[in-house]
């Protein structure tokens, strides 16, 4: 029981991070029908940006309040990563729009390789640690065996900021004209243009939002694990992509749900079975779900009136 509750907390934390990354995959797929394979590396890049600015703030500028520093780092990481997201779309994807379907996909793999190599060359190949921070935990209850079920401050911060940002983002997409334009382009780009919507700008915006959320995930990842390396984009990226497919690619709530499920499967499998096979477990569930629900859990089967 104690272990179950503890793993539930851990799983939800990890799942939040996957969910944030998955939104970037699902939105880009929704609007241009392309899997942005570079998205995992954008996430990794944002963790480095967060690390660098965190060190600048705490070590060089001597900022003592970790919470304030994290907040500033989060904002900076979101802004700079968004710029990267915007630039990647402009340079690597937009010129290929209207080309054959595989072209942007290949370009995305190229960007992915470029980003991880760029960070490796610029930052070195070794793991980069942060100074230890936020180590406080709240002991929820103690089991009979003396096992403490704990909720760490980090986990609270990660889950709370995920929830808050998702709410803001949800509002943006559902209620503002910006979000409406975005959804319109998702459904029919040609018609959106006929109504005066600048489709290119809307697609740019989608990449910017996806990158900003990846930056939140990157900052949280850094906070949680306290270490990041140049090849940390790949595995979380693939997991988040899996989460997006599992939840139903194109569906925003699906991406978050998929993220949480993958996070939970991974942690529970590690706790009760073997940690070596946690990825196998996560991907097996994906395969099983897709056999029975080809469009994912919350994906919509395309039935449209003509």
């Amino acid at each position: 029981m104690e272990i179950f509750v503890q793993q539930l907390i851990n799983g939800l934390t990890l799942g939040s991070i996957y969910g944030l990354i998955a939104i970037g995959y699902t939105m880009v797929f929704g609007i241009i029908g392309m899997v942005n394979f570079a998205h995992g590396d954008v996430f990794m890049l944002s963790a480095f940006i967060a690390l660098i600015f965190f060190l600048i703030l705490t070590t060089w500028l001597g900022m003592t309040s970790i919470v304030l520093a994290l907040l500033i780092v989060l904002v900076i990481a979101m802004v700079l990563t968004s710029l990267w997201g915007w630039a990647i779309e402009r340079i690597a994807y937009r010129p290929l729009r209207g080309s054959f379907r595989l072209a942007p996909l290949i370009s995305a793999i190229g960007v992915s390789i470029f980003l991880s190599n760029f960070v490796q060359v610029a930052q070195g190949a070794r793991n980069k640690p942060t100074p230890p921070m936020m180590r406080e935990v709240i002991v929820l209850f103690q089991g009979e065996s003396g096992y403490n079920v704990a909720l760490s401050y980090k986990q609270i911060v990660i889950m709370a900021s995920t929830a808050v940002l998702l709410a803001i983002f949800w509002y943006l997409v559902q209620k503002t004209s910006l979000g409406r334009a975005q959804r319109a382009c998702e459904q029919d780009r040609k018609m959106a243009a006929l109504l005066g919507i600048d489709v290119d700008r809307t697609i740019s915006l989608t990449f910017v939002i996806g990158a900003a959320l990846a930056a939140v995930a990157g900052t949280m990842y850094l906070l949680y694990y306290g270490v990041v390396s140049f090849n940390d984009g790949f595995v979380p990226g693939v997991k988040a992509f899996t989460a997006a497919v599992l939840g139903g690619i194109g569906s925003l709530p699906g991406a978050v749900l998929g993220g949480l499920i993958i996070g939970l499967i991974e942690t529970f499998w590690s706790a009760y079975f073997s940690i070596e096979y946690k990825d196998v477990a996560a991907f097996s569930i994906l395969a099983i779900v897709l056999i029975f629900m080809p469009s994912g859990i919350l994906g919509r089967p395309e039935v449209e009136k003509v």
Binding site: R183, M191, A193, L194, G196, D198, K305
Partner: protein, 259 residues
């Protein structure tokens, strides 16, 4: 009135028409799909306050012309001017922002958005400035839509979707309204309704309408002027009445009774 005396300009160039400048003017426009030519040099004018119709068989290029006016596909040759501005090379969304609205072929309703949101999309170009007022207006024109505002566009019937497509186009208060086959697949009663509304919009609000139709009888009766398109060429033009009485037009588009 004998049909022999009617001044029909075959392969019409510039219309004699009124002396004022046309609101929309299409000159020598050629459009291709890959290497296949779809429009072979089209000349056509729409003046302010007019209802102009373009009739022709399936695949004549009518819808292609509608979309070419919006730059998608782009005209490879020729010029298109709107209100004195050359829009031939303008991006589609900027053309829309000049206050041209289109209810396109196939209606293209946003199926996963509510009727209300579809109408909001229609009001995008004027930043929702007089949204409530315009919403009320289209709800008066199409009471069916009012009942269905919160329903998803994809769940509407064909006729309702057609109404929504027209209503959405009206939400931007267009100077020029392009309607691509508003009668397609609709029950005769609804067709009649829609044509009455077009007439009202033109007479009461002075809206300029460019109407593409296969339903030649209704369209020619409604329109001030008409053009006939055959495989990418304008072959005839004249007033609605003249075309309606023309034997060639009758043989090709009106025989078998009107609907």
């Amino acid at each position: 009135m004998s049909t022999a005396g009617i001044p029909l300009s075959v392969d019409a160039g510039v219309q004699p028409g009124p002396a004022r400048k046309p609101l929309l003017s299409v000159r020598g426009v050629k459009t291709f799909y890959g290497n296949i030519i779809a429009l072979k040099g089209v000349d056509l004018d729409v003046h302010e306050g007019e209802i102009v119709t373009l009739i022709g068989a399936n695949g004549a290029g009518k819808s292609t012309l509608m979309m070419t006016i919006f730059g998608d596909p782009r005209a490879r040759e020729g010029t298109i001017t709107f209100a004195g501005r050359d829009i031939t090379r303008m991006p589609t969304h900027q053309i829309a922002q000049l206050s041209i609205a289109q209810s396109p072929e196939g209606r293209r309703i946003f199926g996963r958005m509510s009727v209300f949101e579809n109408l909001q999309m229609g009001a995008s170009i004027n930043k929702m400035a007089h949204f409530n007022e315009d919403l009320e207006r289209v709800c008066t024109l199409f009471p069916r839509l009012k009942e269905r505002l919160q329903q998803r566009g994809g769940t509407l019937s064909g006729g309702e979707q057609q109404m929504l497509a027209i209503a959405r186009a009206l939400m931007s208060r267009p100077k020029l309204l392009l309607l691509d086959e508003p009668s397609l697949g609709l029950a005769p009663l609804i067709v009649k309704q829609i044509f009455t509304i077009i007439k009202e919009l033109n007479e009461k609000d002075g809206m300029t309408v460019f109407l593409v139709e296969q339903n030649a009888y209704h369209a020619l009766r409604l329109a001030h002027r008409g053009y006939v398109m055959v495989t990418g060429n304008i072959t005839m033009s004249g007033s609605g009445k003249e075309l309606l009485e023309n034997p060639q037009v009758r043989a090709a588009y009106l025989e078998g009774g009107h609907h």
